[in-house]
Subunit: 173 residues, 2 copies
């Protein structure tokens, strides 16, 4: 399958401070569009950095093309979904540049996060708010082992199609 | 029913800055105990204040005994559960002082939040992490119209009984 062979041409590595401009170039259009993330569409660059850049046991990471310099294709992060007694469950997010969709970048980011979150000691991973209309993402996460635990009805006001559900998705690590 | 008549002796009002010491006296033992909230058990007073005190369209409020001064029996808050396209769904939390349990305080706090969140324009209310072993709370929220959409398995490590689920609960406003 093309997606699988292309996935092999994506490297994922932890982000460094130098990566931020490239990360922001991926995040900003996704945030402004407001169709797949439950972030305020007017989130500033500083706010986005505070939200996206995670310290241990979480991590922020980037997808790059091997041997093609530091052009960032996509980025992801994981962190504890809750504090205290809930801190062994990870939450994660991923964003891919529009020019790099359909090339296995999201799959590679997710696969990396599952492995790295398990290594960091998390027991499971939960997505709180997967937009129901983002069907490619929903299918991809399902193909990677996530199942839909619940769909919160009409919990997302999509700028184009109006109210759709938000899936809570989960898998054990 | 005793709980209903006692509920009538509880007033709920928006919190003021002067209420903070009384609010903290309610929050601190609940946080330290770590059995019902997914907050780090070593959360500092400043961190708690930043997490608990909400501005519009959210709100922080307190339960007091009518005519009995400003002794705070319990406190609650609601706020947008997500940003952007998810900002019409409220999330809420409530804490009641150990000396005031079984007196309808939690019910009064929750009833107030449902009414005030609706007035503030929220369409629905979602709880993300109701500890499964907190059966009195689960029953109470169910009696107030919430239903369990999903239970995230083993998502909470209870200090006494170990891993239990976290319920996602929901109702339309």
């Amino acid at each position: 399958m093309a997606a699988v062979s292309q996935e092999n041409t994506v490297d994922i590595r932890p982000a460094t401070a130098e990566d931020w401009p490239g990360i922001w170039s991926i995040l900003e259009p996704v945030i402004r569009e407001g169709e797949t993330f439950t972030w305020d569409r007017d989130t500033t660059e500083d706010e986005a950095r505070a939200k996206w850049v995670k310290g241990a046991p979480g991590q922020t990471f980037v997808a790059v093309r091997p041997g093609a310099g530091d052009q960032i294709l996509g980025t992801g992060e994981f962190h504890a979904n809750q504090g205290g007694g809930g801190s062994h469950v990870a939450n994660a997010g991923y964003m891919v540049g529009a020019n790099y969709s359909g090339q296995g970048v999201a799959r590679a980011l997710c696969a990396y996060s599952l492995r790295a979150a398990k290594e960091a000691g998390f027991h499971s991973m939960q997505f709180n708010a997967v937009v129901e209309s983002n069907v490619r993402a929903v299918w991809l996460w399902q193909s990677m082992g996530f199942r839909i635990l619940a769909t919160v009805p009409e919990a997302f006001n999509h700028p184009e199609i109006g109210y759709v559900g938000l899936h809570v998705m989960y898998q054990k690590l």
